[in-house]
Symmetry: C2
Subunit: 229 residues, 2 copies
């Protein structure tokens, strides 16, 4: 279950009896509810506890502090999304490039837009926590999966793949965020998916068609002036 690699955010105590297992889950769900109801800025531990039907003290028995609680929520959310991405990558390994792209985009978009409200609310949490570290950890797994998938493409430049994977992830994340923060109308959701198909498809095909350089790959160490695409 992906050990939290951040100090001070580990659960304080692990539930033993069934009663407390339910309590912990109730607190977790309540955190999401409160997030949706009043937003990240006005989310307080007391409010979360009240919503969960327990007292604050109980909350602090399982989460050492407010951050830890929010961290757990964010973590589960991200895990869900990138698990979907990883699976799509695994399943598309032997397929043609265009289908890889489509599968990747569809997996991400579907997962990310499943619970529009939650996705949106969690952007604020991400900032509070300095979620960058968590995000980068989760992204890294997705990145590896994408690289593994793309390595199956014949003739592709392998050394560009890690950064290309990061580009794909951050492009999908960035555009989705934009759509979410703008309200995520049904039309926008549809457009997002279709344009991402175009965008990622075109990018990957161009990457695959890139000529093999003699000595200087795309990520070159020796500075030569850039001239055009």
């Amino acid at each position: 279950m992906a050990q939290s690699a951040v100090h001070g955010l580990e659960p304080r105590k692990t539930p033993v009896q069934a009663r407390s297992t339910e309590t912990v889950e109730a607190i977790f769900e309540a955190a999401i509810q409160v997030l949706l109801a009043v937003g990240s800025a006005r989310l307080t531990t007391t409010r979360v506890a009240a919503r969960a039907g327990v007292s604050v003290g109980t909350l602090y028995q399982y989460y050492p502090n407010k951050q830890a609680l929010l961290y757990a929520v964010l973590e589960r959310h991200l895990e869900g999304i990138f698990a979907a991405v990883e699976q799509a990558c695994r399943e598309s390994c032997s397929k043609p490039l265009a289908q890889m792209s489509t599968a990747l985009v569809d997996a991400f978009v579907t997962a990310k837009l499943q619970r529009t409200d939650v996705s949106k609310a969690l952007y604020a949490v991400h900032a509070d926590l300095d979620g960058a570290r968590l995000v980068s950890r989760v992204h890294q797994r997705a990145e590896r999966a994408i690289v593994a998938m793309l390595e199956c493409v014949p003739g592709i430049q392998k050394d560009t793949l890690p950064f290309a994977a990061r580009m794909l992830i951050s492009t999908m994340a960035g555009t989705a965020r934009h759509v979410l923060e703008a309200g995520a109308s049904p039309a926008a959701k549809r457009d997002l998916r279709e344009h991402l198909h175009l965008l990622c498809g075109a990018y990957l095909e161009r990457l695959a068609a890139l000529p093999w350089p003699e000595r200087a790959p795309l990520t070159m160490r020796n500075a030569t002036p850039k001239d055009g695409v």
Copy 2:
């Protein structure tokens, strides 16, 4: 100077004498300094005032509250970046598609990565303030500029342009954010620029090559199953 369209964030008093003009600027700069020094979460009005060499009371004479101050900082930052983008669009109107893409990417990347530390620190501010509204206002201007530029491309589907422009902006913003939050090494900066050239170039060329549909544009109302890119 782009009237702040958000209530309660307007300056409380406008400097009249030269002395106070300097004070206001000092406070503004101090806010950035403190942001870089201790981060958004630990930025307090007292700290900012101290760094500016004035007392808290003075700060509150010009900024009605802490948010207003941070809003001003974020606003100037975004204005700077998207002014560069707008200019690039204006200058590339008659050029070929590939050069449009390159100019757009270069303008954005150069502006955004100019002050890596500031860009990075402001992500937290964006969240505190619900900067989404501000961002969308600034993005809208950039979007219009991009659309105007792309409309010069012969044979391109005009009705896809607004969303395409949003895709370009949010792609650039998303990938840049990723690079910034990962530390923005020189290598990553270089890769970002070059991959954005590939990505945006490929996307735009594909958009331009899109066949004109009979009745159903890309944003179609009647659901037909998707089959491949």
